[in-house]
């Protein structure tokens, strides 16, 4: 699960400070998964929080753009963005009090969380390596078959040309 928080501020030319924008400025958030399918596409206010859950391993694309075509005469916008990935809360004090952990237990819990992340990443890499291998095999196959096909097509075209021209010249009584 991915949680994103954003806040858009506008540069106020008079005070040269970034102030919260007036109402009416919305931000459209688009999220696409690694295969290009749209996971989420919604419009939020100038300050908002969006969440989505990823189902495929790989690169997801998050797009933020303004939905208002009437731009405030080229005003500068400042966007604050914070994206948290994963369900685990990193507030260990909260976890310690909730699960009543001693100091040592909390430290070990932190290390266990780290190892879990490392394991997740390793699994991800293994998955990617497999897909990479598939693409590699496919390229290899394609190169092989297209080379054979093109050689054959070249030979067939050559023979056809010669035969066609021979019968053409014979018809023209030039040979």
């Amino acid at each position: 699960m991915v949680v994103g928080n954003y806040k858009v501020e506008m540069l106020d030319k008079t005070s040269n400070q970034y102030i919260p924008t007036v109402a009416g400025l919305g931000m459209h958030v688009d999220v696409k998964d690694p295969d290009g399918a749209v996971v989420m596409s919604r419009t939020y206010a100038s300050e908002g929080r969006f969440t989505f859950t990823s189902h495929t391993a790989g690169e997801h694309v998050v797009c933020l753009f303004s939905n208002s075509s009437a731009w405030f005469g080229g005003a500068m916008l400042r966007v604050h963005l914070d994206i948290q990935i994963g369900e685990h809360a990193n507030d260990y004090q909260q976890i310690a009090t909730k699960d009543k952990l001693t100091e040592l237990q909390l430290r070990v819990r932190q290390l266990i969380d780290q190892v879990e992340q490392i394991t997740k990443e390793q699994n991800y890499q293994r998955n990617r390596e497999e897909r990479f291998r598939q693409t590699s095999e496919s390229t290899n196959q394609r190169v092989l078959w297209w080379s054979i096909a093109q050689t054959l097509i070249l030979l067939v075209t050559g023979f056809w040309q010669m035969r066609h021209l021979k019968s053409f010249f014979e018809a023209k009584k030039l040979v």
Partner: protein, 208 residues
Amino acid sequence: MIKMSLVLLVFIILNNVAIGDTLTFELSEREKSCFYQDFSGSRKYILQYKVLRGGNNDIDASLESPNGKILYKESRQSRDEFEFHTSNGTFTICFSNEFSTFSAKVIYFELRSQVMETLDSEAGVTSRPNAPTYLDAVLETVHKSFTRIAIYQKDSRLKEGSNKHAMDSLNNGVQFWSVLITFSVLLTGLGQVIVLKTFFTEKRKTKA
């Protein structure tokens, strides 16, 4: 949190991980993107960036301190790592793809503290009642090793992403050009015969 100043933003993933703040974003051709980070106090920080894909995999990058001093400025680099001392204020990190006419670039960059976070600071523990024991030291060493592993994994993931993109491009390229070449061969073969025949249809030549 990283702040950006642009009207249209396209990013790929922003991660606030134990190793630091990271962002992967796409920078269109002939455009420039700046990012801002507030710091307080003075610490050693590292800015690392890498062009993941696009064109010649190069980008202009610069780092400016709050009082306008340019701490780092390089042109057309594909990756680099730069250490600097933070101070109070907003630091500006700019990437420029203005030299490129056709290629959008996907850039990864991260800001992380040079000193690795300890278990205590991660847990939000500010002070300890007792002096650290041997066990504490061992646990810290393990934590440091795991953090290093996470950093290597991150580098590995970036490289894998670039490789995958290159491989996909290669695969699609092979397909596309093979079809094109086959079509060209057939067209040329047919064209040659047709053109040759026109040489012999209008006028009579004694020799072929």
